[in-house]
Symmetry: C2
Subunit: 515 residues, 2 copies
Amino acid sequence: MAALRSELGIQRTDRAEPPPISEVALPEARPMPEAVRRAAGEAALSTAAEDRLRHAAGRSYPDLVRLRSGTLDLAPDAIAAPESRERVAALLEACSDADVAVVPYGGGSSVVGGLDAISGPHSAVLSLDLRALRSVELDATSLTARLGPGLRGPEAELELGQLGVTLGHFPQSYEQATIGGYAATRSAGQASTGYGRFDELVTSVELTTPVGPLRTLAVPHTAAGPALRELVLGSEGTLGVITDVVCRVRPVPQERSFEGWVAEDFAAGAAIVRTLIQNDEAPDVLRLSDEEETRVSLRLSGSDGLQKRALDAYLRLRRRSGGCLLICGYEGERESVRRRRSLGSRRLREGGAVPLGRAAGRSWERSRFEGPYLRDELLGMRVLVETLETAHTWSRLDELYAGVGEALREVLGPQSIVMCHLSHAYADGASLYFTFLTAAREGEEIEQWRRAKRAASEAILAAEATITHHHAVGRDHAPYMRAEIGDAGVEALRAVKERLDPAGIMNPGKLLPGD
Amino acid sequence: MAALRSELGIQRTDRAEPPPISEVALPEARPMPEAVRRAAGEAALSTAAEDRLRHAAGRSYPDLVRLRSGTLDLAPDAIAAPESRERVAALLEACSDADVAVVPYGGGSSVVGGLDAISGPHSAVLSLDLRALRSVELDATSLTARLGPGLRGPEAELELGQLGVTLGHFPQSYEQATIGGYAATRSAGQASTGYGRFDELVTSVELTTPVGPLRTLAVPHTAAGPALRELVLGSEGTLGVITDVVCRVRPVPQERSFEGWVAEDFAAGAAIVRTLIQNDEAPDVLRLSDEEETRVSLRLSGSDGLQKRALDAYLRLRRRSGGCLLICGYEGERESVRRRRSLGSRRLREGGAVPLGRAAGRSWERSRFEGPYLRDELLGMRVLVETLETAHTWSRLDELYAGVGEALREVLGPQSIVMCHLSHAYADGASLYFTFLTAAREGEEIEQWRRAKRAASEAILAAEATITHHHAVGRDHAPYMRAEIGDAGVEALRAVKERLDPAGIMNPGKLLPGD
């Protein structure tokens, strides 16, 4: 960590400690109308400061900076934890009538400001915590499971695992995020190349809106008009509350095999990934770091001598200093893993990659959910650290990679790290996931972050790529939605919102541009 | 055919000949407002009777009956064939202002009344024929192609084939249907189990609406809100005109291998299909006929001695009279075909199926686009023949199969044939495609058809299945949409329509229920 400090030009070595939760200042709670309190019934409203604080923010960099500053300017005025979808419906109706904004709350892991307690024109904000809705109902014949929106990743996997199946959905936020949140934000996980993104796993949904339930049929496919399921997925709480999700599941894999490879450079690695996916031979997990991410992640994983030694040996052998780490993970029946691993290895060798072995794969696997914790550690070191992701077709991926990288390096200056990995590969393209680090300027962190975010976002727009591949829109990306979907797209979404949420109480200030 | 006649109790042996096109009576053409004629510009409007007739109907049973009756009660008043998307936009704007309904026209192969020239509250109907929009632009790196909506299946495949790729989309309507039509109706093809349905091939679309263009980004995926692409797919011309479609393509397969198998019965065959697909081992084409369809198709394919001899030999061997034909088709690289065929054959044998060899597969392949022609032949024999399709999860497929079959047999009476095949398999379920035949009652064909259609549709609703897996909604299924998507679903679609098509001119009477 000392090396990182020196690379980023951070002088101070003491830790910036966040204040104790009891000392964080919140805006005064506005009163909840009697009708809303009545509708909450047994799911009695909480107005305790700690509850309000815990529901006030997600996990974006600005969220963490605000929490560390000791003062939050936004927090919900009360929290309800409805025990049934009927209760959700009653609360939405009461809030519509009584002019109270509603922010649905799942795992609190939004990294795009999706939980900001914006009241808009309304008199107060109610946080609707879905933790009580945690049912699991398996259809073992159809390999689908009906899941409550409040189930966190590990809870869902534990219950499903006891029934012999898995969702196979493992985003970095897995330990916190919920089924409802996955659906509301179109989450993608680390194994989505193999299992499919969450939106691809969902076969039907129920959205409880202020005007009634919107349910899609639990059938494998329908051509009965536009796909309403796809209107609910990604709606981020702005149309209603997702109260039921039916997902595809798979048998728990007999075998899992993760391994590391090194590609000559990012372009060579990307060409391998493209070949694998276009030949239907992609591993279930497939992740290519660029040179910078390879360098930094090896440097940070100091304890993991094995992976570093393997890579060093490879680089000495090739008398080169670059190289890009490629993680491949295969899951499934023993025979299928063996066969696909053998096909994959052939393509990897043909593309010039060199195997690092399974230790490197295991090392990645062990740390796959550590990102959020590492980030807290970095904030304590006074590092500004943020991630953002986008996606493009293979033919324009280089342009996007160069454009976003240059924009970030220019705005962050020389003492910064901008690194990237390619994951979520598709036959027609891939996502790029950027991480950037620089010394935080105390007291100006958010403005510093905003400049970097704006520079990257504008580079993304310039390349005609998407503003988000799987982090969703929330508050942070809302200003870019008009560029993303155009005037007619904005109007189409607004029309749906106005019809299903006529009082405009559902998660104000998120998803749609405010203009 | 004599055997079929006797089975259905049809006495007359003379053919019912349709009247010559020049003798079909059409309603008088209403005048097109000057503003619309001006907007058409070089794409001069046609009001010729033959043109109007050719744009007046699709290929549903009622369409064919009406054409054969010599009198059409609905026909567009004029036809425009715009040469550019700008012209489409200008025409939609002029029609909005001048109160003229617009029916987009692709290949004219709708089997659900999607082309009916309903004027609703408007003064006239313009058919917008998209045949001039036929561009093809390949991105060979990303394996995507930007396609004009007016390309017919074979035109698109010819141009793409010269570039070494294929869409792999082969619906029974392939020879007539267009790219725009595939997208507007969520078409599925015979190889969709392998290549994906058309909606799964589409990566982005442009919808030209009366208020402007709605374009989605050409990226592999985005989490930027609800998927607007999925709102355009299946919109059936009710929101605007699809003027541009970007699709995934694949290398032209090196090898194609089709083969026939016989399963013991429909349940055993379905179990095999489920095992194949749930183990990611499904062939690209996978189609299981029930006992009745197996019997009838062997009987009708009189010339194809080989397939019949093989099946007869099998049945003698097993001393049974039943058996269900299963067609498996593998496409791709030689090695991949070999490997998948070997995996598939193992599952088929484990499930008790017996191979009929490749001749049976080739026989099916040769006749795969003949359905529409066979239907004309049957109409000439005074047979009422119709198909309908639905889908459900594996756990409820038996219930759906039994319910629809019983409902049809009850309404059609004993001298009828009700048969079914399972195709379009998914990990969580499959589609069922019913065909029914009975003696047409002259002059009452449409009422007779309506009763059968209603009985089948109500059985589908009772099983909570979808009213259509890939034929779309059109006019025929519109009354069932409220049961399919609920009040909130209908309101969401209406809201979008009212915003993008404020004058309500786009394809009136289709998709949404009229109540």
